[in-house]
Symmetry: C2
Subunit: 406 residues, 2 copies
């Protein structure tokens, strides 16, 4: 009998945990497992804002796939997914195509710019190792240029962060810590630097506990961040942005706009003809796509409604990892004909947002609030747990964050 082919698309949180679990639970004679990813490395997307700010080197964030996947058990294909043809049970890649019996779609997110003029062309987004280190270099380049011009242009020292959600706030925290170093490196007067957050809602971190929001804003403002809430970004140009607040337009000169105000599922989902809800596949209880019994979806491409709130669960690493655990169980059950498929139930264990290396806020089990030092420790515990799950103690010691006092 022919062994079933399991194909996992994408090596983010969901794709990696699914592949590692399938590799562990299936014998070589039970199935062929293939992982497709455009890079030969995995990265922790929740650390990219640190790479972008320059407070953590990107090699700390990325992990070579061969370090955690056994290449003798899993067929790794370094290629880019172009489209999925679920009716033909195949995936079109840039350099070929691949057939599957069971497919796990784990293609992650991309930035959503909502048609705001100039954002696609002139704003940066924190979405990959490539885009994160470009932001770091772009900021450094502008700081380096400043003292080389006859009329130094203060727009080179102004950084606008669009969006006061999780990524935006965490990036601001890192920037606040990075700016004094950059000023020393490039002989810049700290008082010339402006870091501005633009958020459309009337508060940053909408949905978070107001005490935590206040704590976060105080922490960041004390380090020089300016907040413009209730302000819409109307246009992004190479030398500045236009915002609208209280019905008035304002132009802010800046060479650096980082857009962190929206993500959407990978656009391959819609382009491949799946039925979508907000660009995502609204999966069944067992994480399968509605019309295809052999297609599973994990992470940011999957939509699950939270019946309590009536809104979808947020696209977090935590949920992607839990989805991948359920999916790997269900794929095994179907591929080997052993056991039953399970229903997936997300368990939100807590949410922690860092505010730089030395400050954080969070909510953990039973809505307990955490501030400052305790929250920074919790953040590291969460990150380290993931590494342990992904690659065991070896990976944890190599890439973990241990210095809780820094």
């Amino acid at each position: 009998m022919k062994k079933p082919s399991i194909v996992v698309l994408g090596a983010g949180y969901g794709g990696m945990i699914a592949t590692v679990n399938l590799q562990k639970s299936l014998g070589i004679n039970e199935a062929n497992i293939t992982l497709v990813n455009k890079h030969d490395y995995h990265y922790q997307a929740t650390w990219l804002h640190e790479n972008a700010a320059g407070t953590l080197h990107h090699d700390r964030t990325r992990i070579e796939i061969k370090e955690v996947i056994n290449m003798n058990k899993v067929n790794f294909v370094k290629d880019t997914v172009v489209s999925i043809k679920p009716d033909e049970k195949k995936v079109k890649l840039k350099n070929g195509e691949i057939y599957y019996d069971y497919l796990v779609i784990a293609l992650g997110f991309e930035a959503a710019t909502f048609g705001i003029p100039g954002l696609d062309e002139h704003a940066f987004t924190i979405g990959s190792i490539n885009s994160a280190r470009l932001i770091r270099e772009h900021i450094e380049y502008n700081f380096a240029m400043y003292n080389n011009e006859k009329d130094p242009n203060d727009a080179r020292l102004t950084i606008v962060v669009g969006g006061g959600g999780f990524t935006g706030i965490e990036f601001l925290g890192e920037l606040a810590n990075r700016i004094p170093e950059l000023c020393k490196e490039f002989d810049i007067d700290k008082n010339k630097v402006r870091i501005i957050n633009v958020e459309g809602a009337h508060t940053v971190l909408p949905g978070f506990d107001p005490d935590l929001v206040e704590y976060a804003m105080n922490s960041l403002e004390a380090r020089g961040i300016e907040f413009k809430t209730g302000a819409l970004l109307k246009e992004c140009k190479p030398d500045g942005i236009v915002i609208e607040k209280d019905g008035k337009l304002e132009e802010i000169p800046t060479k650096t706009t980082v857009w962190a105000a929206g993500v959407r599922a990978n656009s391959i989902i819609e382009a491949s003809g799946f039925e979508t809800n907000r660009g995502k596949i609204e999966v069944r209880n067992d994480m399968r796509a509605p019309d295809y019994d052999d297609v599973f979806v994990v992470g940011d491409c999957a939509l699950i409604m939270n019946e309590e709130s009536g809104r979808p669960f947020p696209p977090t690493a935590q949920i992607a990892i839990q989805m991948a655990e359920a999916v790997s169980h269900n794929v095994k059950a179907m591929a080997t004909g052993s056991g039953e498929v399970e229903s997936f139930e997300p368990k939100i264990l807590g949410t922690v947002a860092s505010l730089g290396h030395d400050d954080a806020i969070g909510v953990v089990l039973n809505d307990r609030k955490l501030f400052g030092f305790k929250a920074t420790v919790m953040k590291k515990v969460i990150d380290n747990r993931y590494l342990l799950k992904l690659g065991g103690p070896g990976l944890l010691f190599k890439k973990g964050k241990f210095n809780i006092f820094y």
Copy 2:
């Protein structure tokens, strides 16, 4: 009786050695010494190519002036010289003016671009801490951008160095060592990177011993440098350069052109109305300007003919330092009325060009040729001798280059 005012303009090799020597040899009651410089730091201009390539941090190259000058004995003015008015015995600064009884002009060099179209706007020059670290950042930015574009632009990975003289060759040596690191940092295929030297003469390092030139070219070519000798740079554009070789025009796409093919004396000299020869002041034997008994000139603004060769001595750190020693003796003699002014005789002790941290060529006393390891050691000995002279053992240990095996 009023104490004479001695003013030194510029804190390069010549200005620093002159000031340190005057500070040591003159009592506080004998003269007022003032040093004017636009930065509060001195830098070793002969190390800037390493900062530009990114192989040495610029803080290793610069020295805070207050570290070597006793601010209780010397009045340090952080300001930019606008012009010198020798008939009024005064110097116009950006933020004021200053009178002198004895003036030491040590204003150094600036890039000469010979009217080649686009060079001033689009090429980089290695002339200061600011311009050197900008080159480093510019190269890094282009490497970082490469993998972020839909159609990666190979011009981002091409670096053109205009000029195969001392600075150009030393910069190429550092770049050759730096490129593998940059490729690793930004996930770039080394084979995509091009480093091209464009030199108008039919050989690089014109005037150097042919054996040494051949050694240098072999060393650099083995590390991937391409040489285009007998080629004139005709135009520099934001995305490329045009060269002419054997009567044919060729366009080379590049985002990075570093112009290292010409220096001239600081243009303040000509603008201040001094009689000049090739933009420099042809000084008398005692290093004074022809028409002004109270104006001394050291370093790249001073021209001394080498009667043996019939050509001017080259503008090197070695000669600037020797000039400064003679000038500080002569200024002291005149300011205190003690002793005689001396004639200055340059003593060329040797010339060493580095080819990266691990290779070099040189000629030392009696025309003995040095290659490779011995030459790298000699280079470090020369650099360390200067630091000892400038700031004693404390400075030597702090900023010296000791690791001869690296």
